[in-house]
Subunit: 242 residues, 2 copies
DNA sequence: AACAGAAGGTGGGACATCCAATATTGTTTG
DNA sequence: CAAACAATATTGGATGTCCCACCTTCTGTT
């Protein structure tokens, strides 16, 4: 091992040592030119190579797993993972729930960020959107309308609508971030808002957004997206005030 | 314990069990109405309460620490943590470095997201910016110019400039995200670009952005921010093509 | 050829034991 | 009496060992 193995001899603070171990593991992946899907050494081999105990190594590995760096499969092995933001979603959800108990500031901050991203990027997305992608967006709207007519909630269709809206940008980081924000919002909404939303109205809002996109009117699409988020923001503030 | 203790008896997949443990800990924090800074039970107490071994508990705690949910202080105790996105930065940095070895796609995606956030929100930030905050922005620009004249790099001043630009929004999530993106970009830049940038030109770009903000011209500020990010994007593509 | 079972290797987990850092307490000392 | 120092209790940090659970693969039977 080249740069590794120093984690145990350093007299750094404990927090720094854990981070150093994580860095060592990531460096090892980079040094060996491993790509997503490639296998890592076994836990025992890694512990030996990095000069730490197996339990200590596992703590770092679990963190890396949570960060979406490695994928751990029981009884099979460990692998370089594809992007994964589930952990970020969990952390943000917790923060949101924690803040809702008092002022709810973080939940609103999250909506603000999501609004900036979606309103700000809808124009670029429309530029490269194909007719097939546009049809997929409408399909999501139709699904929402059908479910609304039947009185059923449409969590999945709603999420899908926003994902398809920005698929043309081919930006996986953006898609992941939006998915995280959507998931966190949904969790917070379930926690406080309950099922008090007007399904038909929500579906109609999405159809109006789709129509603006279909017409190629960038500013109108951005404006209607903003209006959509204003509604979300109001729902959160209402929930905070009980 | 109310909902806890079931983690060990469930025959779920290992991954699900770990996540369940994390959820148990977060639920415990929420149930006990703990706020940021409040102490958690000791490791032994928690392990006993949740019905898992201490090592298993620690693995979850380290993940929660990485997610910024808890703060662990050796020899003192564990506490509910204030927001902390360092771990996310590490994960993203790794992804960026990994992707740079091949096509560099993720690094460019990151710049796109950051550009959307900064260009999209600069207008709102200008609306609520006080004269004091504006002066702080200029102070950062001056620091950059001084350092550029002395031939020294100005990593900290650059980061500070962007942070102060969006401080008026009072959105800690946004500030954290931007800090993460900035840190990741910096790391990637050090990895490949080296110190090949024109310091004086970079400082001048920031001054032009400041001047647009000072004049209250929202569209000009957004445009100059966009230009700034175009330069960053070019630097990355140049680095990829060696 | 197809299926069933055994075997080996992998990660998952629990203890017990010791190390290290921090805060508190008690003692010494001026 | 007060300040400085030292001992101690408490807490997390780290390791080794043992066993369990899961997955793959091989192998032998049907």
């Amino acid at each position: 091992m080249t740069t590794s193995g120093f984690a145990s001899q350093a007299r750094f603070s404990a927090q720094a040592r854990l981070r150093a171990l994580q860095a060592d593991i990531m460096d090892l992946i980079l040094e060996r030119d491993l790509e997503a899907g490639d296998p890592l050494p076994t836990e025992n081999e890694l512990a030996l190579a990095l000069g730490v105990g197996r339990n200590t190594l596992r703590e770092s590995l679990k963190v890396l797993q949570a960060l979406g760096v490695v994928e751990i499969r029981h009884g099979f092995g460990m692998f370089v993972a594809p992007s994964n933001f589930d952990a970020l979603a969990d952390g943000l959800t917790f923060r949101g729930r924690l803040s809702l108990r008092h002022k709810g500031g973080e939940a609103l901050e999250l909506v603000d960020v999501r609004q900036a991203l979606e309103s700000g990027l809808i124009g670029s997305a429309m530029d490269t959107m194909t007719s097939g992608q546009l049809a997929a967006v409408e399909e999501s709207v139709i699904r929402m309308e059908e479910l609304a007519a039947a009185g059923e909630t449409f969590v999945e269709a709603d999420s899908e609508f926003h994902r398809r809206l920005f698929e043309p940008l081919n930006n996986t980081l953006l898609i992941s971030l939006l998915a995280v924000f959507w998931k966190v919002y949904r969790q917070i909404h379930l926690e406080v808002g309950g099922g008090t939303e007007d399904l038909t109205e929500t579906a109609a809002v999405h159809r109006r957004i789709y129509e603006a996109v279909a017409q190629g009117d960038r500013s109108l699409a951005a404006e209607r997206l903003n209006h959509h988020f204003d509604g979300i923001r109001n729902r959160i503030t209402d929930a905070i005030n009980e």
